[in-house]
Amino acid sequence: MKLNDISTSVPKKDHKGKVSGQLPYISDVKVENMVYGVLYRSPIAYGKISTIQLPNLPAGYEVVGSEQIPGPNYVKIIKEDQPIFASEWVNYIGEPILMLVGKELNTLYRLLNEVKIEFEEHQAIYTLEDAIYRKSESGVTMASYEFGESLEIISAIEHGAHQIIEEEYDTGYQEHVYLEPQGMLALYKDDEIIVQGSMQCLYYIKNALLSALACGEDEVRVIQSATGGGFGGKEEYPSMMACHVAVAARAVKKSVMLVYDRSEDMVVTTKRHPAKINYRTSLDKDGNILSMCVDLFLDAGANEGLSSVVLQRALLNSAGVYKIPHFHAKGFVLKTNTVPNGAFRGFGAPQSFAGIESHIGHLSKQAKIDPLEYKRKYLVKQGDPTITKGNFRDPVLMEEMIEDLLYSSDYKKKKEDFQRFNQQNQRYKKGMGTSLFLHGCGFTGSGERDHIKATVKLVKTKNDHVSLKISNSDMGQGILTTLCKIVAKELDISYEQVFYPDPDTKEVPDSGPTVASRTTMIVGKLLERAARKLKTQWLSGVEQEVEEHYIHREMIPWNEKTFTGDAYPAYSWGVNFVEVEVDTLTGNVRLEKVYANYEVGKVIDERIMKGQIDGGLAQGLAYGYLEKMTSKQGKIQQKSISDYGPPTSLDVVPIDSKVFDNPYTDGPYGAKGAGELTLIGGAPAVQSAIENALQTSFQQIPITPEVIINSLWTKEGEEG
């Protein structure tokens, strides 16, 4: 099939294998001489291991721990603070201490119960509040950044202000619940360990293995197997599992499989960072914003992991899509003795957008202006500076997108209708809310140039088939299809002639991780360039190979110390409108209608884009009112899918979405990132809809029925 318009959908490359269930995921794989691994995990939140007593191990059963690690005992990510196997201190409940390996799971579970480890317990930090209180103690603050207007100037402005509004906003955990639990297999060979599994970032894993195994480049190899959802949950976490199976395989000279149970996965793997955000805003007598200070705290859990980078993105988005005069922001990553938090679609931005949209919405009440109207007064335009003195240099279509939704949702009339409905209806109340948001595409600042340095390769065979050699994972988001389309179209060959074999570090260069909404824009662009190059050299019937490397287009240079410059090369944009009905007897929220407009440069495949919209928005909406995870004394309380409560088909409604064209020069066919953007607007829109329905304000997400009933109850009390 020749592609005419790049946006026109094509059959997905992986459709057949998936629809028939015959595409193997890692837990479907069995190899000869394979044993299983199970982990002994810390039962306490903070303390020192004093004694370890192992049961008598039957033949063929072995224990693997820190002593078996050939290299240093940490999972290489950013900081060296995450042990592969805790050997002295344990920092959270569930931290791996050792692994038992052997043939029968049944026997392994029994042996696991017989392992006896004693600890000297120390006083743990269980909550973000506690960590904030103790943030000057050593080791509690793991990272911090501060930027923006000087505090003297702000203080002077506040002095002359009519009013100062302070708000404290809390966001909760979010769990990925990728449908395929985490799993990793190390294939043992005399001269090589092959690690295969569910993953987003092959070279993160390879680098972690090179360090842990202290071995040469060609002694480890990482292959992605079909990945049943990632959403960030398979960004950095699999590196630890890879170290576990690889170290064990080396130690026992057998292939080792480690697959998590759902409840294990819910309790010990990374989640979206809970956050606390404080706003302090000064207003003039008409409710106009004079200055704003934001303090943002992220709960990192027990290791730093990627938290400092998450904080950067959270801070970069702390003013939302607004041009706020005299803006200042400060942020901290704080340690608690709880399960480490990490990457999750949006990467810090969902917390910030929930907070700023909420705060701006509340300010609009002070100004007695409809929230959307108030928001539009501050909306950034092309050419405006960013909060880090960068620049929004490309056209911003937000006004058009908003106008379009005002029209298609019949916003004004709906709001009046709802008001009437609410007056007449005691039990049910309807409301409409909006959110405006953006997402910076690619790594922050000079990350692509300094850290990632992506390379892509195209290989052509004698029969003129072209294969993509890149290290990016399709985890469901569809790059197997979209990237092949880009190459096929650029080469002007049929889509069926282009292949994208499972990435294998032995075969593919490092094109970077599959994160940060970078794959289409950055890797796609490199592939487009590579294809163009191949086209000029094209010799039919001959094997050929081309390579391309990342080229940085300098804008306003990013400086991480001062937090100034262009944080991102480009931004994708979105507007969501949500209608809800709230049951005031139970606090239950029902979505009624969802409208969504986005601008992602250029859509590479309409159907895949719609999939990103519907899936991302379902997660984003649920983050705002449905999904609830809590930790008590260091223990995650919701261990099953139902208790946590991700949306079922009966919780979601059809989404009325549109995508606006606004091609971006440095993206393939003008495309920018889309994968994370779609999640971000959900929670703030649902919050403002609930607030509109109940004529009240909330300072947290998720707004669960418990929160709603509590608020109604308090309100009733106040009203007498």
């Binding site: 299983y36 199970v38 029968e104 799971l105 049944n106 579970y109 697959v259 998590y260 149970d261 294990e264 039990r427 007897l585 139970t586 606090g587 239950n588 449905l626 609830k628 809590t630 309380q637 919701q638 261990k639 899918i641 139902s642 208790d643 409560g645 949306p647 079922t648 088909s649 009966l650 919780d651 669960t704 029925p705 418990e706 009933i709 509590n710 109850w713």
Partner: protein
Amino acid sequence: MAEKVTAYRFDRIDETLSQLNREDCAIIAGGTDVMVLHKSRRGVPPKFSKPIVFIDHLSELKQVYQTDKDLHIGACCTYTELLEHPLIPTPIKSAIKTIAAPAIRNRGTVGGNICNASPAGDMLPLLYVYNAKVLLRSVNGDRFVAISDFIQGPRRIQRLHNEIVTEIILPSVLEEGTHVIFEKVGNRNADAIAKVSFAGFMRINKERIEDIRFAFGAVGPTMIRSREIEKKLVGKTLPLADAEIDTIVAEFDKIIRPIDDQRSTAVYRKTVALNLLRYFLSLKQ
């Protein structure tokens, strides 16, 4: 591989009963509760400390029939079977539709829901307000127990180890003129365990309350029902005065004592339970 287990699956109920009389067994009907309760970690079968006996294939336990105005429901009827059965009252069908999702409803049984005796069991509030009776059979014969006596606490029931629940009987359920509602509050719209549930039953004759019953689920170790409080409303005319409603709500306020857990809070459960009660009492018939 897996450990040895003794398992029985007889073709007839009398053989099943004789076996139960000989040894204490774990009964498995649909298994949707026991398989989760006894679950092992991935890749390993669930563990049972007793021999197991399967009963969900026994046709004697799958009948639905009417005698006079009473409705008899076989203990091993699955939710799907009940949904499709013309004799099952609408309120029960709407309660069933709130349970889990189709695949579970194809397996889970009403007898299992009762014998599992979970405070969040969704058949229970209605069975309480219908004054359901449980029919137990053993080699020694049959006995009837009121549902509120049968269920004694979470996972605690008044069953002797040689007995099987064979039927659930709803007395006079097929009578006209009653208004029955069931409300379940869960965290989402399917596959949700109740955080609070409420069943209300009212029979009215010319605005006058002849009979009224309430049961609350997931707010205590068993369903909460109070015949004393109910009695105070009998004879009253509708609509009830605000003060009358307030009194009833206040009485339940005293006896509903829920807990905090991973699904909800005690405060929420209580507030919502009372909200639902008040709403039911305020409804214009």
